[in-house]
């Protein structure tokens, strides 16, 4: 059995620096057995460093970690596991080609004579364990055939099998839908009731508030608050996270789009899944696209952005002139800028500087006969950094050293500098902290106020309501509903997204 | 981790550079350059080394790895190092002009083995080589006598230097000269390589089951051919004519798996070339002359008397006492 202390894990005065900069400064932290402890902060506040130290992936410079009554100066991952600490990432590190049971028992498989794995016993024990956790997963299935939510459950089951008594969950709901998230919360509560200590890291403050017994707030590497989960509210939490007051509910834009239509689509179908979509977007309007995965929101964005141009039928006009881009660069030439959700994979060039990323889509305006005007480029990038509150203001710094929020801003800067008239964005604030999210929304509103048109795809209900002038719900490649966000609450929007099509199939 | 790896790498680097650099110069220094890692050059180098030891001459060895640019660099470096003469198995004689110009400017005699270019003869210390245009001819004549009619095939070396082409052609000329009515059904280039020759021979045997003789332009390829014939179960049914007289070829002849080979041992050639170069340096041999390298057709019957590639020290001693080869008129292509 574990020691009798009610504290499952205790951290005393942990400090960690990188290149002389404090990433964590004298952190004291404790989680009791059976407690769900929320950990919140902006991108770069020190959450991920702290999680790495807790799981043993990185040693602290100083301070102690006390687990199960034993003090460690630094844990390595093996010691962490042995001491009963398990970490589950949003995309769990599991073996996709092994079965569910094999993943749960990896490294501790029940054996028969001659060391042969006893598959039957393993499947049986795995079923028992999953049943005990209230999980209904096919133990024999290849893990790669399951979705992210199921994989997370397998990772948690594995932690339970390893007799972990501290479970670190890093952004567990980032890739889950509402129902899957609800299921996960119930599982977490169950585990806590059985005495497990849980550290829950998330940007979604509503979730953290709903599930946590206590919440620790980190800012700039310091612990700024430890609050009781029941007594806390979102507004207070946001204030502590950003260090100043932000409204809990994001204010909507005050100005209204102009009347003139800018983008007109008439009966547009595409190989990507659009089915005779007709749509008018006014100049200066912000349109939010949403729906279930595969519903057509992303397909619509791809057609407008010029990414999907094979077998596109129907007619489009932009600013009154016919619009039929056959390549992204043709869309850009018309002022249509597509900003992808996957900024690392598809957006930014990580090996290049901030300035070079900002200028990338409009080098022609910075060059003469193929020769670059480097001084002008630096000037433009500096001005853009200023305009977008990009941090740090060091245009020559490689973008890979920026936080997620600042990387998204740099990407937006590229589109603005390319003289964008119509911005097509996918999940414009995915994975960024509250403050950066507000800033990016403000920039988009500001662009719209100056006459730019914005079409964005999002699955973030609050974002859709706060940012859009009009929300379009797509299903089966068609625009199913057009909602005004005025007075709309997230529950209603979710219901609209989830509703089965009311149209008959013919 | 990082530090250890770095230290190890530096240590390796230091050792690699310092260790071989400790040698001191002897009285007379000759640079021996070979075209590449071919055993032919290696045996020539070994014999030259043995001869140099007996003569009290220091030999420094270089390899061009079959790259003409590297060869030129080697010549420049040898001149910088201050050698008294250069003995070179050239990758391609025709590309040596810059090297010769430099050697001439520095007053370093440069003697070529293998390949002949009349434009460089006058500026060289001498050129020694076989009669390229007729190297395969005696082999062809000997095979032709054994095969009055039927089908035969040729497998030659890497095309591009001129020799591979000439060997195959001269073999055919020899066949014709012998009065044989046999016809060539396949001509393949196998890059002097045993494995490639083996594959090529297998394909020839499949495509032309009636082939009764195969010529391989070197013995390495002849070994490949013998293996292919053995695997096809036709050992003894097909004549194999090789060229060069390499140890493994001679061994096959001894075992009866190969018919004959036209030998040009690099050992005796290199020993004589070294003596000629030293003679040029001492002023006892006239520079700019052409010499024929010794050749001989080896069959099972004359095995014992033939000069081997891998020369024993006593043979080298014997060769050193032989009279020096005399200058001769360079070979000319057979008139069509």
């Amino acid at each position: 059995m574990q020691s009798e202390t009610p504290l499952a894990i205790q951290v005393q005065g942990v400090t960690k620096s990188f290149l002389g900069q404090r990433a964590l400064d004298d952190i004291h932290f404790e989680v009791a057995r059976g407690e769900v402890h929320g950990l919140v902060g902006k991108n770069g506040a020190g959450k991920s460093t702290f999680m790495k130290i807790l799981s043993g992936a990185q040693p602290p410079d100083s301070g102690d970690i006390i687990v199960g009554g034993q003090a460690f100066k630094a844990l390595n991952p093996a010691e962490g596991r042995a001491a009963g600490i398990a970490i589950v990432y949003q995309n769990p590190e599991l073996h996709l080609d092994l079965s569910v049971a094999a993943n749960i028992f990896l490294g501790a498989e029940p054996r028969m004579a001659l060391g042969i794995i006893d598959e039957k016993a393993m499947a049986r024990q795995a079923s028992e364990l999953l049943a005990r956790l209230g999980l209904n997963l096919p133990v024999g299935r290849r893990l790669g055939d399951l979705d992210i939510a199921d994989r997370q459950q397998v990772a948690i089951a594995k932690a339970v099998r390893e007799k972990a008594h501290v479970l670190l969950l890093d952004e567990p709901t980032a890739a889950l839908n509402k129902a899957q998230a609800e299921f996960l919360f119930n599982l977490i509560r169950d585990l806590a009731r059985q005495g497990m200590a849980i550290v829950y890291v998330s940007h979604h403050l509503d979730e953290v508030l709903a599930i946590s017994d206590r919440i620790t707030v980190l800012r700039n590497g310091r612990k700024v608050a430890l609050v009781d989960g029941k007594g806390a509210d979102k507004e207070g939490l946001i204030a502590m996270i950003v260090g100043r007051t932000l409204d809990a509910v994001e204010p909507r834009r005050l100005d209204k789009p102009r009347a003139e239509a800018f983008l007109v689509m008439d009966g547009v179908s595409s190989e990507g899944g659009l089915d005779r979509v007709s749509l008018e977007v006014a100049k200066g309007e912000i349109v939010g696209l949403t729906g279930l995965i595969g519903g057509g929101a992303n397909a619509l964005a791809a057609v407008i952005g010029g990414l999907d141009h094979r077998h596109v039928s129907g007619a489009m006009t932009l600013g009154g002139r016919p619009y039929a881009p056959r390549a992204v660069r043709e869309a850009i030439a018309r002022g249509v800028l597509f900003i992808p959700e996957d900024m690392r994979g598809r957006g930014l060039v990580m090996s290049l500087s901030i300035a070079k990323n900002i200028s990338l889509a409009a080098l022609r305006s910075l060059s003469k006969l193929g020769w670059l005007k480097l001084a002008k480029e630096t000037g433009v990038a500096t001005a853009m950094s200023e305009q977008l509150d990009l941090n740090p203001r060091a245009p020559s710094r490689e973008v890979r050293f920026l936080s997620g929020g600042n990387q998204r801003k740099a990407l937006l800067g590229r589109a603005i500098f390319a003289d964008g008239q119509l911005f097509v964005l996918e999940e414009p604030t995915q994975g960024v902290d509250v403050e950066s999210q507000r800033q990016i929304h403000d920039h988009l509103r500001h662009l719209a106020a100056k006459g730019a048109t914005i079409v964005f795809v999002s699955t973030d209900l609050e974002e859709l309501i706060a940012l859009a002038d009009r929300i379009l719900v797509l299903r089966g490649g068609r625009i199913e509903q057009s909602l005004s966000p005025e007075g709309l609450d997230p529950q209603q929007l979710l219901a609209a997204i989830q509703t089965q099509s009311t149209r008959s199939l013919n | 981790m990082m530090i250890t790896r770095r230290a190890l790498a530096l240590l390796a680097l230091g050792t690699a550079l310092v260790a071989p650099g400790l040698a001191q110069a002897a009285e007379k220094t000759i640079a021996f350059m070979r075209g590449g890692p071919d055993p032919y050059y290696q045996y020539g180098m070994n014999a030259a080394q043995a001869a140099a030891d007996k003569l009290g001459v220091k030999l420094i060895t270089y390899s061009a790895n079959n790259d003409p640019t590297q060869e030129l660099a080697n010549v420049q470096d040898a001149i910088t190092k201050g050698v008294d003469g250069i003995l070179i198995y050239a990758v391609s004689l025709s590309s040596e002009k810059a090297a010769i110009a430099q050697a001439k400017k520095a007053g370093v005699p440069i003697f070529f083995q293998y390949g002949y270019d009349e434009s460089i003869l006058a500026d060289s210390a001498g050129i020694m080589q076989i009669d390229l245009f007729r190297f395969g001819e005696p082999v062809g004549e000997a095979i032709g006598k054994l095969l009055p009619e039927g089908e035969y095939a040729t497998i030659t070396g890497k095309l591009g230097r001129g020799d591979a082409e000439a060997f195959a052609q001269s073999f055919k000329n020899g066949m014709a000269k012998s009065g044989s009515k046999a016809v060539s059904v396949a001509d393949v280039a196998a890059d002097w390589d045993r494995q490639k020759a083996m594959d090529a021979a297998s394909q020839i045997l499949t495509a032309h089951p009636n082939v009764k003789a195969i010529y391989a332009a070197n013995d390495d390829m002849a070994v490949g051919v013998a293996i292919a014939i053995d695997r096809a179960g036709k050992t003894g049914e097909i004549l194999i004519g090789g060229n060069n007289g390499a140890p493994y070829g001679v061994e096959l002849i001894e075992k009866g798996q190969m018919t004959l080979t036209g030998s040009n041992p690099p050992s005796i050639a290199s020993v004589h070339a070294l003596r000629l170069l030293l003679g040029v340096i001492d002023g006892t041999v006239k520079p700019g002359q052409f010499y024929y390298a010794p050749t001989q057709v080896i069959t099972k019957d004359n095995l014992a008397d033939a000069a081997p590639w891998d020369a024993k020290p006593e043979m080298v001693t014997k060769w050193l006492e032989e009279p020096l080869p005399q200058g001769a008129a360079p070979p000319v292509p057979p008139s069509e």
Partner: protein, 322 residues
């Protein structure tokens, strides 16, 4: 604001990203100096002006080919066919001089051959049907065959004035091929730093999809880059033909691997996205120095290849990781 912490948090994700950068930048220089010192102690003639010129002369064609290869690697590409293309360009030069007697036409033919081969490679690579490695492996083999067909198997001798200039000639004591190499490196430096083409190469190598979404005509740029590299290869072919006073089907043997080795030793990663041509010059000098050093120290022929391999491996291991 969160800037220091945010920056640091990002830096953590790339362990060693900042720390080894500065040391790594100088390791190549240190290795070069080490070789110079050791060789100079072993043989004082090493430091003679004549020998230093020899080294530059010996690496000149390699330096030109490697300059062109640098921008390909930066763009995430690779061209294994440069050695065979060098032979083809050299043969085109020698054959043209032989048949027309005009050195000018010979130079044009060699350079044009390089550009044509490069353009074809670029068009094949731009189809994205296979990796550049496989595609150029194919063209390499093809071009080796073309070289043999062009030469009829024999060397094409005699280049007249081309040999007088590149094989024998110098200006202010510096051989002409060395000037050609310096011009190539300078040109590539300017292209990489100051032109849109250079910038596009970095962008495509760093993130091809991001480049496409930024409106960069990725296919066209790739073709242009391979053609540009082909131009360098063609120029190297002309110069090497002059140096050797002949066109040989084997004259480009091994150039592809040495050029790629020089670029990688110079700090350009095979995955692209970053790199410098100055680093490539360092890699080229390392290869030339090692060979010259071993010859001057009297390292036997049978040891040289192993020592060279050891030093290349050491130089790459000592490089910074990015």
């Amino acid at each position: 604001m969160s800037s220091p912490a945010a920056t640091v948090a990002q830096a953590i994700r790339k362990p060693g990203g900042l720390r080894t950068l500065d040391i790594g930048r100088y390791t190549l220089l240190i290795v070069l100096l080490l070789i110079v010192v050791v060789t100079a102690i072993g043989n004082p003639r090493f430091l003679s002006v004549n020998n230093l010129m020899n080294i530059l002369f010996q690496v000149s064609a390699l330096g030109i080919v490697a300059s062109g290869q640098t921008i390909l690697l930066i763009a995430g590409g690779l061209d294994l066919s440069v050695g065979a293309a060098l032979s083809v360009a050299g043969l085109a030069t020698a054959l043209t001089i032989m048949s027309t007697g005009s050195v000018t036409l010979g130079i044009l033919a060699g350079v044009a051959a390089g550009v044509v081969v490069g353009t074809i490679n670029g068009m094949l690579v731009a189809t994205n049907r296979a990796t550049p490695f496989i595609i150029t492996l194919g063209t390499m083999t093809f071009l080796q065959g073309v070289a043999i067909l062009m030469s009829g198997g024999s060397p094409i001798n005699g280049t007249g004035k081309l040999f007088d200039v590149f094989g024998l000639g110098d200006f202010l004591g510096v051989p002409w091929p060395v000037y050609a190499m310096i011009v190539s490196i300078l040109a590539m430096f300017l292209i990489l730093r100051f032109t849109t083409l250079g910038r596009y190469a970095f962008a495509i190598g760093g993130n091809e999809e991001a480049a496409r979404l930024s409106g960069i005509p990725v296919r066209r740029i790739k073709i242009a880059l391979y053609a540009l590299s082909g131009l360098f290869v063609g120029a190297a072919g002309v110069i090497l033909t002059g140096i050797l006073d002949s066109g040989l089907p084997s004259m480009g043997t091994g150039y592809e691997l040495r050029a790629i080795a020089a670029v990688v030793i110079g700090g350009t990663p095979l995955i692209g996205g970053r790199g410098t041509v100055i680093g490539t010059l360092g890699g080229v000098l390392l290869l030339g120095l090692v060979s010259n050093s071993m010859n001057l120290l009297g390292v036997g022929a049978n040891f040289q290849s192993a020592v060279l391999g050891l030093i290349i491996t050491a130089a790459v291991l000592l490089q910074k990781k990015t």
